[in-house]
């Protein structure tokens, strides 16, 4: 470790309650400007203050390219207002969270829930996250994020490769929704999926007495089977195992979150389902949820406000189930997008595809604060985009090593210095 890009751990001038929260978690507190912290040699991962292992991991992919600059807003930076014009978040609406190198930062006004979690020391904000030489295609950029392979052609996702390396138990990873994101598809294994339509209710079809028994017989893989037929069979076999268990979990009365149907696909629904499964005690190590589109090329203000409000309510509701770290119920939620938006607004009151963005990690076992250097608003890359200051694979390295208990280089194909966002 210790060779990669500039690294900052900045816990900032928070309100009194937040300071108490941070102190309680044993966070280093550096009031004021903290450029010096960035120059300190990175340390190895500190022992966990809570003594509770982090996990499960919950990956939330926000598709379309979330506007990082309007999510964690450098609101007092004059360049920001010049670049964003009418799209700039007004200073009196920003939820102030701290100061880095003399610049004040705050959450978008829709993020009230995340703001209180931040004040409780449970939100890590990582700035300037992307990969070298950013690609501005949704699909190529998302593929790179989901595969952790810079060519985007790996054909297997990063969680999928973890699945490949750890056996065949279909419970290890669950993704909510009818189709499976590339992150959860391996070369040999893939995650199971769950229905996110709570009005439909059931994860399992009616058995009709004998039906599922013969269904299993039909789906059981056999030697010499053609590959696609085998995949059909595996999806059926996994349904029988995982669907039944998930249905039991979701129907259990002891489980707290009240599933209110917000419509299929809604992030609130998806996270409610995950909360119920974790609370029930399913042995799943990695969950996947996803939502979008954050592709705000036009009339961004209202759309983005609505998206963030909905996301914020979902996250707050989810985290409300896990106020403190408990063994096996210490979820680490990661919120990421394939890229951010361009620093300057376009003529449609929107923003086009950009490069780096912010990543959030949220949970009772997260060490709240700022990580990574916020990109400059006066020096851009050759295409006028925000500089990349943090390689996204460093976040994956932490998750793989600390939550999924696997050698990160084995999955990532190289060494990336982890970021110490877990307490």
């Amino acid at each position: 470790m210790g060779t990669l890009d500039r690294r900052q751990f900045l816990s900032t001038s928070l309100g009194a309650g937040a300071v108490a929260g941070a102190a309680h978690l044993g966070l280093p507190l550096h009031p004021g400007t903290l450029a010096s912290a960035a120059l300190q040699a990175p340390r190895s991962i500190a022992p966990r203050s809570s003594g509770v292992a982090p996990g499960p991991f919950v990956l939330c992919t926000l598709s379309g390219g979330n506007d990082g600059l309007n999510t964690v807003v450098p609101y007092a930076d004059g360049h920001y207002r010049d670049l964003r014009g009418e799209l700039a978040v007004p200073e009196d609406q920003v939820l102030h969270i701290g100061n880095i190198d003399g610049t004040n930062y705050g959450f978008h006004p829709a993020l009230t829930g995340l703001y209180s979690l931040y004040q409780a020391g449970q939100v890590a904000i990582i700035f300037g996250v992307e990969y070298p030489d950013p690609n501005y295609s949704h699909f190529q950029s998302m593929d790179i994020w989901l595969t952790a392979d810079l060519s985007g052609d790996a054909g297997a996702g990063w969680i999928g490769r973890w699945l490949d390396a750890t056996g065949s138990d279909p419970f290890r990873a669950l993704s909510v929704g009818p189709t499976l994101p590339m992150s959860f598809v391996g070369n040999l294994q893939q995650a199971s999926t769950l229905n996110d339509n709570t009005s439909g209710g059931s994860q399992m079809p009616d058995d009709g007495g004998f039906f599922l028994k013969v269904y299993k017989k039909m789906m059981t893989p056999y030697r010499g089977e053609i590959p696609l037929r085998r995949l059909v069979g595996v999806s059926g076999m996994n349904l029988l195992a995982v669907g039944a268990a998930a249905e039991a979990a979701l129907n259990a009365e002891s489980v707290p979150p009240s599933l209110s149907d917000r419509g299929s696909g809604d992030i609130g629904n998806q996270l409610d389902i995950v909360a119920e499964l974790i609370e029930y005690g399913l042995p799943t190590r990695a969950y996947g949820v996803g939502w979008g589109s954050f592709d705000t090329h036009s009339a961004q203000w209202d759309t983005h406000y609505g998206l963030l409000s909905n996301l914020d309510a979902a996250v707050q509701n989810f985290m409300g189930v896990f106020p403190t770290a408990v063994a096996g119920k210490n979820p680490v939620l990661m919120l990421h997008s394939e890229f951010g938006r361009r620093p300057n607004a376009n003529g449609s009151a929107g923003t086009d595809h950009g490069s780096s963005s912010v990543v959030f990690l949220v949970g009772p076992g997260v060490r709240g604060g700022f990580y990574g250097a916020p990109p400059s608003l006066s020096n851009f890359d050759e295409y006028g985009n925000l500089e990349v200051t943090t390689d996204f694979r460093r976040i994956y390295a932490t998750i793989l090593e600390e939550i999924l208990d696997v050698s990160a280089p084995k999955v990532l194909g190289g060494k990336f210095s982890p970021i110490e966002f877990l307490s």
């Binding site: 501005y136 189709t179 893939q190 994860q203 013969v214 996994n238």
Partner: protein, 465 residues
């Protein structure tokens, strides 16, 4: 592979495929394959009749349907749709959500009924080539208008089609072209035009500068919200000189569409997309694509390309025969067709509901990349949804031929196979069906037939396309 029952097992023999001199009858397995890919599958009686034709006759018949009147499809009544000018009348109230639901059901019904299956299949492929979503467009009428463009212009010149789609109101809304201004162009449409619609994102196809330069050319392309029509606002169009893909000039948006569709790399992208949906998934650089490009490049004509694909030896290779699972839309249409069900018998909203459960709602692709293939569809959730859908639909079907053989397990399975036009069951599937039939041997009524049909509809044999 397991053994098989029912149809005599025919060896897949590509020598039955020919240029102009043709062998009759055509191997029924290949006829079924052709119609699953070029359409939405065949019933058993349709299969019997078509096998009397040669491969060339079959392909020609499908191709003629690209421009012929769709006698049966045209009988499906179009639901009420509200057009932009109507909604401008004060006090006009419209239920956009319901119109979209009805439009989904309409298109599925059309795919089920069509006499010109290749054209309806092409419309579906083009929906995935230019994925546009009602979720943002908001007008079912505009989604319908785009769908009609695919139907009328799809079989012809791809450049003409691309330009029409680009200037169609649905696309102007979907990719924000209609909100563009000359002093700060919006790059959304310009980028996807190259990446998704015409060229592919391969290295060196275009640069970021090309994206921004072409975005300038589309400024002034607007949607008139009074008439609901496309127009070019000359005061909001950037008339400066642009540099694009090595060309320099005061290009218009039309010029850009012409340049990208006739670019050197475009044929490999378009051909690889169409081939991947009809034969098996390949990348833009696959050798089979290089072999087909020339035919398409000549006139950018879709009908020429389709003909070449169906006559390509690899179209009937083992790779192709085992190369695709049904997309949910194909699955739903196939089930309705083999069960002989009219969409009218289903409660309103049934089809949009199940398509949502299966993850593929027409007019609502997840994003401008469209839907994936194969693994993309094979999840535990969809496995469950397929069973629920099959169970539900089987309860509406006339299963007399299977019920008549209640108490005779092997006879019942034969009847299932005939009804669903499945060429052969694997030993494993046959064994499962048999144990289900034996278990229900003493049950009367429609229950055993429904259960058997459900199981067969979710068998790997039926799930593969």
């Amino acid at each position: 592979m397991g053994g098989s029952t029912g149809f005599a097992t025919l060896r897949i023999d590509t020598t039955t495929i020919c240029g102009k001199t043709c062998i009759v009858p055509t191997n029924p397995q290949l006829v079924a394959h052709l119609y699953r890919r070029a359409g939405f599958g065949l019933t058993n009686s349709e299969l019997g009749a078509l096998s009397q034709q040669s491969w060339t006759e079959l392909v020609d018949g499908l191709l003629e349907g690209l421009t012929a009147r769709d006698v049966e499809g045209d009988k499906v009544p179009l639901p009420h749709l509200t057009w932009i000018p109507e909604a401008n009348v004060p006090g006009y109230n419209f239920n956009g959500w319901q119109e979209n639901q009805d439009l989904i059901t309409w298109w599925i019904a059309r795919m089920v009924a069509t006499s010109t299956p290749l054209r309806e299949k092409l419309v579906l492929l083009l929906h995935n080539q230019f994925p546009t979503s009602w979720q943002k467009v908001g007008w079912a009428s505009l989604m319908y208008a785009q769908n009609q463009l695919f139907r009328t212009l799809g079989p012809g010149n791809f450049q003409t089609l691309t330009l029409a789609v680009a200037q169609d109101p649905s696309m102007l809304i979907w990719l924000d072209t209609g909100t563009d201004h000359k002093d700060s162009p919006n790059a959304n449409f310009a980028r996807e035009l190259m990446e998704r619609f015409t060229m592919g994102a391969g290295h060196g196809h275009y640069t970021e500068d090309d994206v921004f330069e072409s975005a300038r050319c589309f400024t002034g392309w607007q949607l008139d919200y009074t008439s609901g029509e496309f127009y070019i606002n000359p005061f909001d169009h950037d008339n400066g000189i642009k540099t694009f893909l090595g060309h320099r000039g005061n290009f218009s948006g039309e010029d850009i569409v012409r340049i990208v569709t006739s670019s050197k790399v475009s044929p490999s992208w378009v051909v690889s997309r169409i081939w991947s949906w009809l034969a098996y998934p390949v990348s833009q650089t696959n050798p089979v694509i290089a072999g087909l490009e020339g035919v398409y490049r000549r006139d950018l004509n879709m009908t020429d390309l389709l003909a070449a694909i169906f006559h390509h030896p690899k179209f009937v290779s083992a790779e192709a025969l085992n190369g695709l699972v049904k997309q949910p839309i194909e699955y739903v249409v196939s089930v309705l067709r083999v069960l002989g069900l009219d969409t009218e018998v289903l409660p309103q909203g049934t089809l949009p509901y199940y398509l949502g459960q299966l993850g593929q709602v027409p007019f609502s692709p997840p994003n401008v990349g469209g839907w994936g293939q194969n693994e993309y569809w094979l999840t535990t959730t969809s496995a469950s949804s397929y069973i629920q859908f099959a169970q539900d639909l089987a309860s509406y079907a006339d299963l007399t031929t299977i019920e008549d053989r209640n108490g005779h397990p092997s006879g019942q399975i034969e009847a299932v196979q005939e009804l669903l036009a499945i060429e052969s069951f694997s030993t494993q599937t046959y064994g499962a069906l048999l144990s289900l039939a034996v278990q229900m041997k003493d049950d009367g009524g429609s229950w055993p037939a429904q259960q058997l049909v459900t199981l067969a509809l979710v068998s790997p044999e039926f799930m593969l396309n």
